[in-house]
């Protein structure tokens, strides 16, 4: 039906042009500069040795166990956070969708408002809540769940909680935005055909919001891989994410070639993971249509 419009009025490809130009100018060009930096020799007496060309940085990133550990941890951490955040967000977004009136407003409000607070302060608040002298421990001790306070921060638990908090509102919003225009009548039809709330959710709602979930998962994965603030403040100092390491290399150690080389490895790992995610979910979608 759109052929006609296309011929007469505009070519839809042109609509994509601004985005492409934007990405080329502000991402690809700086990216090329970065690639160049990642191929320079390191020096301890400055940022890099200008004019040199080497693959040593990539070698170091790929073959030193230090970086391997970091990449592996980041990967694990990203998977962990993404899984938890996605499940919780789907649940919460669904709750918002099903709620009405004041409750709906309240649930939505809390998500949005969370995002309006400065991340670092929010993380410090969580630090306080989870700390041995904090309200959570006090509560658990008071109701005799715990005999004495436990350390919930400066470990993987703390980092994960912090990162899930960081990512959660984004994932909820991306899922809810798709959910909000879903047709309730279809769910009714399913329930009429014997699907319980749970099943109709799985059969009708879930397949139609996969795209939203996917967006959330991508954001979550990418940002958890590149997590900085939450693992920094709440995590174990023994477990650095790739982004923290890049920051350290770039800013504290002033070692640009290594920092950029690591960044590109991170970029490729995340890109590959996300492509895999898209690929797998596409496959599933395909299954849904086939018979």
């Amino acid at each position: 039906m759109l052929e006609t419009l296309r011929e007469r009025v505009y070519r839809p490809e042109l609509l994509v042009a601004p985005l492409v130009v934007f990405e080329l100018a502000f991402f690809v060009v700086p990216l090329i500069m970065l690639v160049r930096v990642s191929l320079l020799e390191q020096t301890t007496s400055g940022a890099y040795v200008a004019g040199t060309l080497t693959l040593a940085n990539y070698q170091e990133v790929l073959f030193s166990s230090h970086f391997q550990d970091i990449l592996f941890f980041s990967f694990k951490f990203a998977i962990l956070v993404t899984t938890i955040a996605t499940v919780l967000s789907v649940f919460f977004a669904y709750a918002i969708w099903r709620a009405d009136g004041i409750l709906k407003n309240a649930l939505l409000f809390i998500v949005v408002v969370t995002l309006l607070t400065t991340l670092v302060v929010r993380l410090f608040s969580i630090l306080i809540i989870l700390s041995p002298n904090g309200p959570l421990n006090q509560l658990l001790v008071a109701i005799k769940v715990l005999r004495q306070p436990v350390l919930l921060v400066t470990n993987l638990f703390g980092a994960t909680v912090g990162q899930v908090y960081t990512i959660f509102p984004y994932t909820v919003l991306s899922i809810y935005s798709v959910l909000s225009i879903l047709d309730w009548a279809k769910v009714e039809a399913a329930r009429d055909l014997g699907a319980t709330e749970l099943v109709s959710f799985r059969e009708i709602v879930l397949p139609q919001i996969t795209s939203g979930i996917l967006v959330g998962a991508v954001i979550s994965f990418a940002w958890s891989f590149g997590a900085y603030a939450a693992p920094f403040l709440l995590g174990s100092t023994r477990q650095d994410t790739a982004a923290m390491e890049v920051y350290r290399l770039m800013v504290t150690r002033f070692n640009w070639p290594l920092a950029t080389a690591l960044s590109f490895v991170v970029l490729l790992v995340v890109l590959a993971s996300v492509s895999l995610l898209f690929f797998v979910s596409d496959d599933n979608l395909g299954d849904a249509y086939g018979t």
């Binding site: 839809p12 609509l15 795209s211 967006v215």
Partner: protein, 267 residues
């Protein structure tokens, strides 16, 4: 049967109730400490005072940062929403496969640690003497916000009833008009969400902004990060509290004017 249903419903309510509490808990800490009398971040806070509010109002630096965040946030919304909305329509209406293949590549900025992106952009903008401008920060934030808005808008579009577009075209609406009249209302939650996310990215991102901002263009999170990483005073909480208050007031006002249920539907 009915019993199982009750148990399920109860579990469901309990689930989101608990999540609600968990979400609100840090905010409670954050808000109450903004009224602390002491100069440190402590919960429960000792004493009540408005000293941090007074300090905030008197601090030119913080007020400027608020102004900068608003400017940069708005810019990010405009830039990223425009780019991604156009692109989403383009991809939908084009049958060229490579375009839709190309688009996921726009996600790449999200995958790069922000510090290198910040440094790269600083060198890039620096060579045109454009660093420390609002524009450079907006561009950096849009690099993150655009792919997300794009993906959100695109997935919202999968739920759009395109039959309505046919109806509108048939009734004499031009393609552009059709978009305004029948497509926007359908994707408005998605647009709202993506604009919100764009704004929030801008309100939260501090690593790239750290490099790209100058004295005059520092945003709230940059200031907060540099301030707070070495010194915790509740002034940052004041800003968060004020922002929350602002949103509550706006929501209440709109609730009074259009009714809560209507509002719930609008959202």
């Amino acid at each position: 049967m009915v019993r199982r249903q009750r148990v399920q419903t109860a579990a469901f309510r309990l689930g989101y109730g608990a999540m609600f509490l968990l979400l609100i808990a840090p905010l409670v800490v954050l808000i109450t400490t903004s009224f602390a009398a002491s100069s440190s971040f402590q919960f429960p806070p000792q004493g009540f005072s408005l000293q941090w509010y007074a300090e905030f109002v008197q601090s030119q630096t913080w007020l400027t940062a608020v102004k900068n965040s608003v400017i940069v946030g708005t810019g990010t919304i405009l830039l990223s929403t425009t780019l991604s909305l156009l692109a989403a329509f383009g991809v939908r209406e084009s049958d060229s496969v490579w375009i839709s293949r190309l688009i996921p590549l726009t996600l790449m900025p999200l995958f790069l640690p922000p510090v290198v992106l910040g440094v790269a952009l600083l060198s890039f903008f620096g060579s045109y003497n454009l660093h420390q401008t609002y524009g450079s920060i907006i561009v950096a934030h849009a690099l993150w916000a655009t792919p997300i808005s794009f993906l959100i808008i695109q997935s919202v579009m999968t739920q759009v009833n395109w039959g309505l577009q046919d109806a509108a075209l048939d009734l004499g609406a031009s393609p552009l008009r059709t978009k305004f009249e029948v497509i926007f209302p359908q994707i408005k939650q998605g647009l709202f969400a993506s604009a919100l996310i764009a704004f929030i990215i801008s309100l939260q991102e501090f690593v790239m902004a750290l490099f790209l901002s100058g004295q005059e263009t520092r945003t709230i999170p940059v200031l907060a990060w540099t301030a707070i990483s070495q010194m915790l005073d509740p002034i940052v909480n004041v800003i968060s509290t004020l922002l929350i208050t602002l949103v509550v007031v706006v929501l209440l006002l709109s609730a009074f004017s259009i009714g809560l249920n209507r509002l719930a539907r609008q959202l």
